[in-house]
Amino acid sequence: MTDTILKMKGIKKVFPGVVALSGVDLELEKGQVLALLGENGAGKSTLMKILSGSYKPDGGEIFIKGKKVEIKNVNDAKELGISIIYQELSLCPNLTVAENIYAFQEPTRFGLIDDRKMISMTQALFDELEIDIDPKAVVKDLSISNQQMVEIAKALSTKPDIIIMDEPTSALSSKETEKLFKIISKYKSEGTAMVYISHRMEEIFAITDIIMVLRDGQYIGTVETALTTSEELIKMMVGREMDQVYPHKDFSYTKDEKLFEIKNYTKNKFFYDINLYVRPGEILGLYGLMGSGRTEIAKGIFGILKKDSGEMCLHGKPVKVNDPYSAIENNIAFVTEDRKHEGLVLTAGVYENITMANLSSLLTKFRLLDTQKEINITEKQIDDLRIKTPSFKQTVNKLSGGNQQKIVLAKWFETEPEVLILDEPTRGIDVGAKYEIYKLMIDLARKGVGIIIISSDLPEILNVSDRLLVINKKRIIAELDPKSTTQEEIMTHIIGRGDQFGQAKQSDKE
């Protein structure tokens, strides 16, 4: 037991109105990778924020290398050898890569920052990690996945004994994810202990040694990764048997006609020659990697990005959509990828978020908002979508990711769309809420709504869509039948045969 590097005992944390953690234990050995698993709101991030000094626990003890410690702030954690990689990027976009990595620990010469040394230190770190990014580049010019790699390198630059990774791969392409896994196994063999938070089961099975499950702030159990199955884990997380991750859709469309179609949609530098259609009740999947142009296509359809050329038809009749307003007028709805920045007003209440796309329906004959009607609509959506909130007035920033996403869905459901576009609707959401969101999609399809779902989660897109388009380098490169195709076939389409790396690299830069 001399190998135990970290021990957390009986950790408690109470937020006003919520018990976030009620006496959680955690033990980590040198060179061990522990997966922390649980639904959103289970307390994973809270536990890690206590360990990294962002939060103060309301009870419990922490031992590092057998010594009792008190972690009062982020600096204490750093000194104790704890480093954290955040889910949301914490880099300064206007500084260079090197300046970000050595922020607050810059090498100095005569009291001034030694730029040259800082850059060579960064280069040395990148060489060691096999990361190919220019230390002198300004962070905001990097792709999101490269920014995430910088974030990771920054966490490793302090040579920590314990590394916490909170959903590190949610912004990474598959190539970079592999690189990260290599880095993890290298540090592991050098004796670094790691806590890995992720919703992606494949990753957890690929790189972790043990898995600890939390539910509603309580410790549920720890299992060895090699001896468990994803079914068992889901059961532990959800607290009930989940026979399937994806609900069954027993029809592929309700009417064999083109409900919505775009022809030759082009927006220079964003997407080229996009042709697609969706039938009533059909779920059309768009699969593409980050930077492939998938989100831009959706923004083009919704009028956020103004197209250069192309036509749009609804029910076979041409329509003009130049901005979100005309898109909504034509019964198109768009659930954006980034719910916090594009979908929600975090400081406003649940009801204000749910009705914001459809305020006109609330007007009385005196042109005032009908408050009672608004409350009724909100309460109904809260019931229908099973949104967990203390009240309809609750500001949405206090709700979990899954519930926030349901509020965004409710907002668009209120507009009674005929065409619903969803961009990564289940990212960062736990299994239980995912299942509910898929079910809501199917219920809507049953009513004849045409659904376009964009996802970079291959198992998801294969299981929920009736038809699948593959996007790469701003174009549609293949149409596949999700029932018969495989993940390998899709990736082959994207990477191409032969010079895999050359192409992958190119698409990364674009």
């Binding site: 920045h341 007003v345 005032l368 203390p390 007035k393």
Partner: protein, 322 residues
């Protein structure tokens, strides 16, 4: 139990002016001990009449701050509109026609602010600093820097008259506008859209809100508010002068922020703003009554603004804390 405590918390956020209201009561109690004249009906009505000009400006400012913008030109619009009123009346126009023209000029001045910012994508801070000089400059140019006497009885009645020989007319106007502004901000689609735009511009755009048009309308509202203020101010001064209302924009912003409206947009109430204006009025009046020298009054006002902004920052942090 959890549900209950959350509900209480929600009510607090919804009625963020509860705290300011308590502060107002506290100040009233304080000054009523310090000066025997303070708590007399006449004095209280005087305070209301005195704050009416700033309060009306602050109603408009509430809308602007709500969408996360700022308008520093309202003081100058007050001066310009006053001049227009004086010119109209002295050229023989009726009070009614003059008032309509003044309101149109105020609205156009506001619209100009909103349009320049929207069309040329210049921050409203910069635009209104610029028009602050332009509007006042036009006022000076029209009058050659000379005051114009106002003697129209109806206009004078609006600023100085009393209903039932007791309630000053400006008090009635400020309360009437309070109700209108409150309803527009909290009960109309327009007001709700302002709140959404202030809370999250991108989300607002994606639900089809025309942000530029909304912003222009809101700057028109501040312009209109300034026009109304200018009529009351000219009447109280019995003249129109290009050098009046200097710094009123800052008093209006202070009253608005004191009342719980966020400087960065997204939340706020007109009722809170009114209470904020009252607090400033009470402090002014109270300090005068106890004979505090003018310079010290300036210092106290400065401190109040700092406290108000500190409260805003702290509220925001608490609201956004997970």
């Amino acid at each position: 139990m959890d549900k209950l405590s959350n509900l209480i918390k929600n009510r607090k956020i919804a009625k963020s002016y509860n705290g300011v209201f308590l502060a107002l009561i506290g100040l009233i109690i304080l000054f009523s001990f310090l000066s025997p004249h303070f708590l007399q009906t006449n004095n209280l009505l005087t305070i209301l009449a005195q704050v009416s000009i700033i309060a009306i400006l602050a109603y408009g400012m509430t809308f602007v701050l709500m969408i996360g913008e700022i308008d520093l030109s309202v003081g100058s619009i007050v001066a310009l509109c006053g001049i227009v009123l004086g010119v109209m009346l002295s050229s023989g126009q009726s009070a009614f026609v003059s008032i309509v023209i003044v309101l149109v000029v105020g609205a156009l001045a506001g619209l100009l602010n909103g349009m320049i910012s929207a069309k040329f994508r210049i921050p409203t801070f910069i635009v209104t600093v610029a028009t602050m000089g332009i509007f006042r400059g036009i006022g000076y140019a029209i009058t050659d820097a000379r005051p114009i006497q106002i003697d129209n009885p109806f206009i004078l009645y609006l600023g100085n008259g009393k209903i039932f020989d007791l309630i000053p007319v400006p008090v009635v106007i400020v309360l009437l506008l309070l109700i209108i502004a409150h309803v527009v901000l909290s009960k109309t689609k327009f007001g709700r859209q302002a709140k959404i735009v202030g809370g999250n511009r991108v989300a607002a755009e994606y639900v089809g809100i025309n942000i530029k048009r909304l912003q222009m309308k809101i700057f028109m509202i501040t312009g209109l508010a300034a026009a109304v203020s200018s009529i009351l101010l000219s009447a109280r001064l019995y003249s129109a002068q290009p050098n009046v209302a200097v710094g009123y924009e800052l008093d209006a912003i202070a009253a608005t922020v004191l009342g719980g409206t966020s400087l960065s947009g997204g939340y706020g109430t007109v009722i809170g703003t009114f209470i904020g204006a009252l607090i400033m009025g009470v402090i002014n009046n109270g300090m005068n009554l106890i004979g505090m020298p003018y310079f010290y009054q300036q210092i106290v006002k400065g401190l109040i603004i700092i406290i108000a902004v500190y409260i805003d920052v702290r509220n925001k942090e608490r609201l956004l804390a997970k």
